[in-house]
């Protein structure tokens, strides 16, 4: 199974490096920009206060978090609110879809299925390769702050980045597990990716709508974006217990269902 894990990671190394590099460039941009924003803190605060609070609500942001008094608040709103989740969502959906569904579509799955390795091990090998890639992406994209902050003389609180990396990992893991489930059900990468992508967009919309309408408030529990509380992680250095349970629970259930489906289904490339 180790050969399968290693081979899967090797096959996705270009996309892993590309996404990690992209996240690194964004991080460099924000670290380099921060001293300028910090200098103009009062002017920016006035400017932001002039915006209707609904603008921030629609983007899933809390205006109260947006202060330039520390780097973590700035990074939270600028990077972890939208840019980082979009990158990780695209990365894990593409990774998951390229596995079983992608291999069935290309016909390469028959080569693996004809070897003395069980379908459960094939699924686990590909799943663990995805988990390892998520860890690598989180480490590079979040802990890049250490050398970059030192380079630009920006102060940071390391423990907050540990917490953010755990939240980011759990968020990515839950979406990746859904992607592996979809990839086990479908025989085409496109169908798998569009299904999971559609679910994630729907979750985002639910989260925004539930923040506007009081009567729909409880719908937010259906959205990953409600549990993905980046400001609590990066600013307050905390993760809600429910967040951990929901992301881990979804990951475990989706992975088990995906494995069972893959073991039982007909595979005709």
């Amino acid at each position: 199974m180790l050969s399968l894990i290693w081979r899967t990671i090797k096959d996705r190394k270009v996309s892993l490096v590309a996404y990690s590099l992209g996240a690194l460039i964004f991080m460099e941009m924000y670290v380099a920009m921060f001293p300028f924003f910090a200098e103009k803190q009062e002017e920016f605060d006035k400017l932001l206060q002039a915006y209707p609070k609904e603008v921030f609500q629609a983007m899933g942001m809390d205006l109260a978090d947006f202060t330039l008094s520390n780097f973590e608040s700035f990074l939270g709103v600028e990077h972890f609110s939208l840019v980082w989740p979009i990158m990780v969502i695209i990365f894990v959906i593409a990774f998951g879809g390229a596995q079983i569904a992608g291999e069935i579509e290309k016909g390469t799955i028959e080569t693996i299925l004809a070897q003395p390795i069980s379908r459960l091990k094939i699924f686990l090998g590909k799943y663990l390769a995805g988990v390892a890639s998520i860890v690598a992406f989180c480490v590079v994209s979040i802990f890049a702050v250490i050398p970059l902050a030192a380079l630009h003389g920006v102060e940071y609180r390391l423990e907050n980045y540990w917490t953010m990396s755990i939240l980011g990992f759990l968020f990515a893991l839950a979406i990746f597990s859904l992607s592996m489930l979809a990839a086990s059900i479908f025989s085409e990468k496109g169908k798998s990716n569009f299904t999971v992508g559609g679910i994630i967009i729907l979750m985002y919309v639910i989260n925004v709508i539930s923040s506007f309408k009081e009567s729909l408030k409880d719908l937010r529990y259906l959205s990953f974006f409600y549990y993905y509380d980046y400001s609590m992680a990066i600013i307050d250095n905390k993760i809600d217990g429910l967040t951990i349970w929901v992301f881990l629970g979804v990951s475990v259930v989706a992975a088990i269902l995906g494995a069972l489906w893959f073991m039982r289904r007909d595979i005709a490339a």
Partner: protein
């Protein structure tokens, strides 16, 4: 003889959404046969007859609707992992990883199935360059790589779907020689094909599948020798085609100055009839497997 493959009443139905609701497609509809140790068994049929579906059931890629498959006496589904150690498989249309080189494919399979020295021999024998990426190989070279991966562990049972597809005649003969050598060493070979001369060249027995049903199993020699003959008669005078239309004459084809008759069974009545005509030329030969094949499809 020991049965290496035993199929009993195998059925595989697929449901598909048609214009009038769900349709049930009977891809394989109750076939039974055995393949004995050391034999080369050909599985014949046109596209869509169910050949690949049967092979996918052997390999446990798809699960039968009913019936069972035993390979080396073990259930093909329950024991698929251990059986795969003893089976070499070549799919119909070899699809491997575009970005991997031939050598990377070989190394990967060796890590899953164990190291072997035979890969190097096969590379040399097929004159194959293992250092190029799969996407840069010609279709013939892709097929060579598929064959190397299937054969490099000297499997006791080789299951192949169209093994010589895309290969030049010289290489086809090399494959046939490898099959002969493996058969001599007691390996069993199951080949699905619609290349009739190939089946005639390499197989001991053939099973003919039509619309998911097995319409016949014969030894190749029995098919060629006993059942059908081709009689080509060229006449020096006028003749009536209808005079030759009687029992046993399966097919009559026209020539400018004669007829080609495909005859089942006793040829004496035809010879007697021909004796009443002035002939320019007469040739009686055993029917090719293709004639037999067409016969099965026309008659059953």
């Amino acid at each position: 003889m020991t049965n290496i493959i035993e199929i009993t009443d195998l059925k595989k139905y697929f449901s598909s959404l048609g214009t009038r609701g769900r349709d049930l497609i009977k891809a394989v509809d109750g076939i039974s046969f055995q393949v004995e140790k050391g034999e080369v068994f050909g599985f014949l049929g046109p596209n869509g007859a169910g050949k690949t579906t049967v092979i996918r059931c052997f390999m446990d890629f798809i699960r039968p609707t009913a019936g069972n498959i035993k390979i080396f006496g073990d259930d093909a589904h329950q024991e698929s992992v251990s059986l795969n150690k003893r089976i070499g498989y070549l799919p119909g249309n070899v699809q491997l990883y575009d970005k991997w080189t031939g050598q990377e494919h070989i190394d990967f399979i060796e890590r899953l199935k164990g190291r072997t020295r035979d890969a190097k021999d096969l590379i040399k024998r097929f004159d194959f360059d293992p250092h190029r990426k799969f996407k840069h190989y010609s279709s013939g070279n892709k097929q060579k790589l598929g064959l190397i991966l299937a054969l490099m562990h000297q499997p006791e049972l080789i299951i192949m779907d169209e093994p010589t597809l895309g290969l030049d005649p010289l290489l086809q003969n090399e494959i046939y020689d490898i099959f002969d050598e493996m058969q001599e060493r007691g390996h069993t070979i199951f080949v699905s094909s619609h290349n009739l001369p190939e089946v005639q060249r390499i197989c001991d027995r053939v099973g003919i599948i039509k619309e998911g049903k097995l319409v016949g199993i014969e030894t190749v020699s029995a098919l060629g020798e006993k059942r059908l003959r081709r009689i080509t008669a060229r006449f020096d005078a006028k003749f009536e085609k209808e005079d030759f239309r009687f029992d046993g004459v399966e097919r009559i084809e026209d020539l400018s100055d004669g007829l080609i008759l495909t005859v089942r069974g006793d040829i004496n009545p035809i010879v007697k009839k021909l004796a009443g005509h002035k002939l320019l030329d007469l040739e009686i030969s055993h029917a090719t497997l293709e004639d037999v094949f067409l016969e099965f499809y026309k008659g059953k």
